[in-house]
C-alpha cells in the first residue's frame, strides 16, 4: 500500500506534478500554505513541506520555515522538509524543530522519492551536513550519547559510510543498525532542540549571534528568515 502524503509548496507546478513524478506516493492533498492544510486536516503518513512559502503576490504573510514545521508538528503531523535550502544550520534548525527528514530538491527524483518513503515509513532522513554538526556537538560534549555503540554509529554515518559498511565493522545486522539510527536521530533531535544558540556557537567555533536567527522562536516567524546569511 502506498503511503499517503500531503504536499505544501507555493509553486503550483510542483504541487500538481508531485503525484505524477513520484508514483510510489499517494498524494492526497497538495496545498500552498500550512494554514490551508490545517483547515483541511487530511489524514496522511507524512507532510512534504517546502521551507519558503511566502511570496509578495499571492501569500505574503503565511507561516513558513521553522514556524511552519512547529505548527505542523503541533497538529501531530510527521514532517519531511523538501527544499532547495542547503545551509547546514538552517537544515539543523529544521531537525531541531521536529522535522523527521530533510530531502533536497536537487536530488534525482527517484532518490528523493525513496527518501520520502523512508520518512513516511517511520524513518528519519538527516542531511549529511547536519550529521556532521551533530557529531561535533557530541564530540565536544554538548550532547551526551548514552552508549559507545551510538557513538560508533554516528562516527560511521558522519563519514558517509553505509549501514552495510558499519554493520561489517561492528558485527551487527543492518536492520539492527537502522533501528539504532532511528533512536539515535530522535534522541539527537531532542537534544539539539534543547541547546541554546550560544552553546552551539561555542561548540562549533562560530561568532556569538551567528545562529540567533535560526534558533530564536520569535525570529523564525519573520517572512525572510531564510535569507539570513551567516557569512560562512
Amino acid at each position: 500500500m502506498r503511503p499517503r502524503v500531503a504536499v505544501v509548496d507555493d509553486a503550483s507546478l510542483i504541487r500538481e506534478s508531485f503525484g505524477l513524478l513520484m508514483s510510489r506516493l499517494d498524494v492526497v492533498a497538495a496545498v500552498a500554505t500550512v494554514e490551508e492544510l490545517a483547515r483541511r486536516r487530511p489524514v496522511v503518513d507524512v507532510v512534504l513541506l517546502d521551507l519558503h512559502l511566502a511570496n509578495l503576490e499571492q501569500q505574503p504573510d503565511v507561516r513558513q520555515g521553522i514556524a511552519a514545521i512547529r505548527a505542523l508538528r503541533g497538529q501531530g503531523y510527521r514532517v519531511c522538509v523538501y527544499s532547495q535550502e542547503e545551509r547546514r544550520f538552517v537544515l539543523a534548525a529544521c531537525i531541531a524543530a521536529g522535522a523527521s527528514g530533510v530531502v533536497s530538491k536537487a536530488l534525482p527524483t527517484a532518490r528523493a522519492e525513496q527518501l520520502v518513503l523512508d520518512v513516511a515509513s517511520g524513518g528519519t532522513v538527516v542531511p549529511q551536513s547536519v550529521v556532521g554538526i551533530l557529531e561535533v556537538l557530541v564530540r565536544r560534549d554538548c550532547i551526551t550519547l548514552l552508549s559507545e555503540r551510538q557513538r560508533q554509529l554516528l562516527h560511521g554515518r558522519a563519514r558517509g559510510l553505509t549501514y552495510a559498511q558499519i554493520a561489517k565493522q561492528l558485527f551487527v545486522s543492518e536492520s539492527t543498525l537502522r533501528g539504532y539510527w532511528l533512536d539515535l536521530t530522535r534522541s539527537l533531535s531532542d537534544s539539539l532542540r534543547s541547546l541554546t544558540p550560544g552553546e552551539i556557537e561555542r561548540a562549533l567555533g562560530l561568532a556569538p549571534g551567528d545562529l540567533l536567527e535560526f534558533w530564536s522562536g520569535d525570529a523564525t516567524d519573520v517572512k525572510d528568515w531564510w535569507r539570513v546569511d551567516t557569512g560562512r
Binding site: L107, Q128, G132, I133, R139, R159, G160, T162
Partner: protein, 412 residues
C-alpha cells in the same frame, strides 16, 4: 680536468670494475719491474760465479724479458693477464727453477740475489693472482712448489731446511692472500657498479613517477574538457586546467638553484588543512560534496605535505567525476589525539573490485604513492555497487603542525 698524465694516477681511477682491473695492472707491473730492479745489482756476480755463465745469462735475460713483457701487456690491456699468457708465465718460472741447479754455484741457491729465481717466481705468483681461472692458478702454484723442490734438491742441509720451508710457505701464503685480495676487491667493484646501476634505475623510475604525478590530473581535466558539457561546467574545468597548467610548466622548467631556497622556505611554511580541503571541494561543486571539516578546523600541515594532499584529493574527486557516477560525496576531516588526523573521502557511486581492477596512475601514484612517500597512511575500500571509501591518515609521529605555530598562512 683529467689530462693525459692524470689518467695514469691511481687517485684518478674510477671506482668501477674497469678501474679496479686497471689498478691491478699497475700493481702487477710494479711487482714485476721492481723485481727486475732488485735482480740487476747481482747479475754480474751471478755471471762470474755461475758454472755455466751463458745459460745463467740466458735465464736472467728470459726472466727480465718476461717481466717487461708482462708489465707492458697488462698495462696495455688495462687488466691482468689472460689464461694463456699466465700459463706461459708459470711455465717459464718453472723452467727457470728447474735450470737453477745447473746455472748456480753450490751454496748460492738460498739467501742471495745471485739466485734470482725464488724472488722472480714470487713475482709470477703475485701476477697470477689476477687470473680468473682458479684451476690454472692452483695448478700453476702447485707446479712452482714442485719445481722449487727440484731447485733445492741436493742443496738443503740441516741449517737451511727452515729457510727452504719458509720460502715454500711464502709462495703459498702470498698466493692465497693476494688472490683473496684481488677477489674481494673485484666483488666490491662489482657491487659498486650494480649499486650505481640500481640507483640510476631508481632515479629513472622516480622521475617517471614524478612526471606521472605532475601530469595525471591535468590529463584527466583535458579529457573532461573534450567532452560536451554546460558553459558553467566548462568554465570550472578551465579554472582547474589553469592550476594544472601552472604545475606542469613548473615541472617542465625544472628547479633552478635559487628555487631550492624557495622550496626550503616553502617546506617550513604551514597550510590550514580545512581551508585547503574546502577550496578543492569548491572546484567540484557539480559532485554535491559535503565537506565536514569542523573537527579538524585548527589543523595545519607543512606546505609540501599539504600540496601532495591537495593533488591527491583533486585526483580522488576527478576519479569520482569521471568514473563513480555518485549521487553524493562526503569529505570528512577529524583530528585525533596527539595531533593525528584522518581525512575520509567517501562516494556512493558504482565502486570497483580492488582485487580484479588494476588501479590507474591517479590512485596508484598521485594518491597512494605520493602520500605514503610523505609518511601518510592511505587505505582504499571499495566494492562493485557499494561506492568507494578512501581514508588518509597521519599517525602521531607525522602529526599536523601545531595549531598556533603559524597563523599567517591560509590556503596556499
Amino acid at each position: 680536468m683529467r689530462g693525459r698524465n692524470g689518467r695514469w694516477r691511481v687517485a684518478d681511477l674510477p671506482t668501477t670494475e674497469a678501474g679496479v682491473e686497471r689498478a691491478f695492472s699497475y700493481f702487477i707491473a710494479g711487482v714485476r719491474l721492481g723485481t727486475i730492479a732488485q735482480m740487476i745489482p747481482a747479475v754480474h756476480i751471478g755471471i762470474a760465479t755461475s758454472p755455466d755463465e751463458a745459460v745463467y745469462l740466458a735465464c736472467w735475460a728470459a726472466a727480465a724479458f718476461a717481466a717487461v713483457t708482462v708489465s707492458a701487456v697488462t698495462l696495455a690491456r688495462r687488466r691482468p693477464l689472460g689464461a694463456a699468457s699466465s700459463a706461459a708465465d708459470f711455465a717459464l718460472a718453472c723452467v727457470l727453477l728447474v735450470l737453477g741447479p745447473q746455472v748456480l754455484a753450490p751454496g748460492e741457491r738460498l739467501g742471495t740475489w745471485v739466485a734470482f729465481q725464488p724472488a722472480y717466481v714470487l713475482s709470477v705468483i703475485l701476477t697470477a693472482s689476477g687470473v680468473r681461472s682458479r684451476i690454472l692458478w692452483a695448478g700453476g702454484l702447485l707446479g712452482i712448489v714442485v719445481c722449487y723442490l727440484v731447485y733445492l734438491s741436493g742443496e738443503v742441509d740441516g741449517d737451511m731446511t727452515s729457510t727452504a720451508i719458509g720460502n715454500v710457505l711464502t709462495f703459498v701464503v702470498y698466493a692465497l692472500v693476494a688472490r683473496m685480495f684481488f677477489g674481494y676487491t673485484r666483488r666490491i667493484a662489482h657491487d659498486a657498479d650494480a649499486s650505481r646501476a640500481h640507483a640510476a634505475e631508481l632515479a629513472r623510475r622516480e622521475e617517471e613517477r614524478r612526471a606521472q604525478v605532475m601530469m595525471h590530473n591535468g590529463v584527466a581535466i583535458m579529457r573532461l574538457l573534450t567532452e560536451p558539457g554546460t558553459d558553467a561546467a566548462r568554465s570550472q574545468l578551465i579554472d582547474q586546467a589553469e592550476v594544472e597548467l601552472r604545475r606542469m610548466r613548473s615541472y617542465l622548467r625544472g628547479r633552478a638553484p635559487d628555487e631550492d631556497r624557495a622550496a626550503a622556505h616553502a617546506s617550513a611554511r604551514s597550510v590550514v588543512l580545512a581551508a585547503m580541503i574546502k577550496r578543492v571541494c569548491d572546484r567540484f561543486a557539480d559532485l554535491n560534496v559535503d565537506a565536514l571539516l569542523d573537527l579538524g578546523a585548527d589543523l595545519k600541515l607543512p606546505a609540501a605535505q599539504a600540496e601532495a594532499l591537495e593533488r591527491a584529493l583533486e585526483s580522488l574527486l576527478l576519479n569520482v567525476r569521471m568514473h563513480a557516477r555518485a549521487d553524493a560525496v562526503v569529505v570528512h576531516l577529524d583530528q585525533g589525539a596527539a595531533g593525528s588526523w584522518t581525512l575520509t573521502v567517501r562516494d556512493d557511486g558504482v565502486g570497483f573490485d580492488p582485487a580484479s581492477v588494476t588501479t590507474g596512475v591517479g590512485l596508484r601514484e598521485v594518491v597512494v604513492g605520493e602520500l605514503r612517500l610523505r609518511g601518510l597512511d592511505v587505505e582504499i575500500e571499495s566494492a562493485v555497487g557499494e561506492g568507494t571509501t578512501v581514508t588518509i591518515s597521519s599517525g602521531p609521529a607525522q602529526s599536523a603542525v601545531h595549531a598556533d605555530r603559524d597563523t599567517s598562512t591560509g590556503a596556499a
